[in-house]
Amino acid sequence: MDILIYGTINSVTLALYALGFALVYGVSRLPNFAHGAIYVLSGFIAWSVINTLGLNHLLAIVITMVVTALIGSAIYLIFLIRVRGMAISEIIASYAIALAILEGLRWKGFKGMTYTLPVFIEGSTSIAGVSVDYQRLLVVGVGAALVAFLWVFTHHTRIGLALRGMAQDERAALMLGIDSDVMAVVAMGLGSMLAALAALMLLPLGNIVVESGYNVLILAIAVCIVGGIGSWAGAVMAAFLIGFAQILTVVYLGAHYQMVVALLAIILTLILKPSGLFGQQKELEERV
């Protein structure tokens, strides 16, 4: 039972890490390597809003998500738009932004383990004899709600449909009057907002440390590669696959092999099915 419960929690955690990354790539074909840095940055923004400005938790959440979305959009408009379409340059530029954010935070003294966010609900409960805290249950609930929201948003709203249109066929979308750059800005903003949501849900479980930005990026990339880069459904499926594989590894092999699972999943996917579980890049598969 503990494998089922903690496997689900771990899978939803991975999905939260990855959905923003998958969204940005799915719409604009932009591998946003600053995703992990934005995750950490949003944690520090929330911390500052609560501890420096003295605002309440709910207000801090709203402000953090809005500010992070604006930062994400600004990153695209100021930096990434100039290298759009040049895959290697996009990776280098976005990773450079990540380094600037993370090392900048460290340089400004955001280090150590004293930066924490409050949990939404204190305490724990027991499910079938397995002890689990309310915050983790909330993570699962928010993760499920987020997937439902994304589905509704991308199927029943103008912007969502435009985003899907861009993701499916950029040229056809352009012919229908959808502005590619505007959609990329929206995707970056929304992707960053999702990173902020993940941070706001997950960071209260621990503390805000700069180094976690790199881990989040690696896990998000692993989930997206296994799921098929650009596929949101694939990302969710892959999150469950890797999430449960990690928990089974912890239980049967040892906790220190946990990170190997994600890296092994990347290698195996690239060898066996380079386009991933639900990947749309069939040409990649054919080339290999």
Binding site: Y6, K111, M113, L205
Partner: protein
């Protein structure tokens, strides 16, 4: 040139010459450069840096170091080795050490590298450049002083002024025995970080515990940067564990204690290395959930006690200087390393490495954490449980928001308490 202009020019030249003549004799002597390779973004780096800074400021304010006939000040050069960060290769720390020696012209290396793997790799470099080094923070592997003992001529420049894993293991077993006697505890679960000293220490603890009749209910190794310990804690709970022995220096270890509290695991968290719990900010970071956590701050002075007359004097001076109490395991040892080095330089009347090694071997100084002497063969500081005999350790427990020293008895300020959900 007008007469007026030539007078002004002459006066200017005269003043320039006079300034050289008059000022030169009172010009400050060249500083003695202390190279400090530290992982400054982490507790075991910044605590050492602050300890060094405080000692250097005190010594310089008192006139500096007497080297033969002249007084010379200390000057610190700190480079961030980043060796405590996950994924940073050891070679980065070696580059930092080499830069301190060649570029910053460090006469001595104090502090790190902080990660055991990096410190072991740096030994050859210190030998190559004949630079005296005193480790003051983080490096707990017994292999360090074992290598000095095995190849004395090669590694004689390497000293360590704080306790190491073997001492820590001895200290925790002294406490385990007390807990066994008092509460009948017999089940031990070990959680360690996937780094050299922690893995090694965890294996040693497991072996010794088994030999001593403890039931070791599990040994879990976590990658550096791990953020979820739920399954390990569940295992501990399911196996009726009574003590969880923790070896982790990553800041994420605070998460482990929060999870332990949320899950109300009926086992006492006993950190040997537990960086998160060493810091005064731990209480706030865990919102008080870390209460009852025990951890070893390796040497006295890193938590309040009256080990020697110097202990609280240092403790208060540090708190006043940095607006925070001494934090991690490298604080008092870094502070004392500067004083020990000053003492050796003054006796050697020289900065010559071989002479300093000889004098450091003769060190016998009552410091912040007891009598400081180095083993002449291994260059490891000599440990003791009585500060009059040697360097004393310090195990603290978080009680009502305060760090209370509970071991050794000679300096204890309180006794180990159990969380309410563990009381029998």
């Amino acid at each position: 040139m007008s007469r007026r202009r030539s007078v002004v020019l002459s006066m200017f030249l005269l003043m320039t010459v006079l300034s050289f003549v008059l000022v030169a004799p009172v010009r400050a002597a060249d500083p003695i450069v202390l190279g400090c390779p530290l992982s400054t973004a982490f507790l075991y780096g910044w605590d050492a840096e602050r300890g060094f800074t405080l000692a250097v400021e005190e010594i310089n304010a008192a006139g500096g170091v007497q080297v033969g006939t002249e007084k010379r000040p200390f000057k610190m050069e700190v480079i961030d080795t980043r060796d405590l960060e996950p994924g940073v290769p050891v070679s980065e720390a070696l580059l930092a050490v080499e830069k301190l020696i060649l570029d910053k012209k460090a006469s001595f290396i104090l502090g790190g590298p902080v990660r055991s793997e990096a410190a072991l790799a740096a030994m050859a470099l210190l030998s190559k450049y004949k630079k005296v080094s005193i480790l003051t923070s983080g490096v707990l592997t017994p292999k360090y002083h074992a290598m000095v003992a095995e190849q004395y001529d090669k590694f004689k420049y390497c000293f360590r002024i704080h306790g190491e894993a073997t001492n820590l293991v001895g200290e925790i077993f002294a406490n385990f025995s007390q807990l066994k006697e008092k509460y009948g505890f017999n089940n031990l679960f070990i959680m360690a970080q996937d780094v050299s000293h922690a893995r090694g220490a965890a294996d040693i603890v497991k072996k010794i515990a088994t030999d001593k009749g403890w039931n070791v209910t599990g040994l879990e190794i976590y990658p550096t940067g791990a953020t979820d310990f739920s399954l390990g804690l569940l295992k501990a709970k399911d196996t009726k564990t009574e003590i969880i022995n923790i070896w982790m220096d990553m800041p994420e270890s605070a998460i482990l204690l929060k999870q332990w509290f949320d899950m109300k695991v009926p086992a006492l968290p006993f950190g040997s290395t537990l960086a998160a719990a060493e810091q005064p900010g731990f209480w706030k970071a865990t919102e008080g959930k870390g209460e009852y956590t025990l951890c070893n701050v390796v040497n006295a002075g890193n938590a309040p006690s009256n080990a020697t007359e110097w202990t609280m004097k240092f403790y208060n001076a540090y708190t006043k200087r940095w607006n925070v109490e001494p934090e991690g395991l490298g604080t008092s040892s870094s502070y004392m390393a500067v004083y020990v080095l000053k003492d050796a330089i003054e006796r050697a009347k020289s900065l010559d490495s071989d002479k300093i090694v000889a004098e450091l071997e003769k060190t016998d100084l009552m410091g912040v954490y007891g009598r400081l002497r180095f083993d002449p063969k291994s260059h490891q500081v000599i440990p003791a449980t009585d500060p009059k005999e040697g360097a004393v350790g310090s195990i603290l427990q978080w009680q009502a928001g305060k760090r209370v020293v509970v071991y050794p008895k000679s300096i204890a300020m309180g006794e180990i308490q159990l969380p309410p959900w563990m009381k029998k």
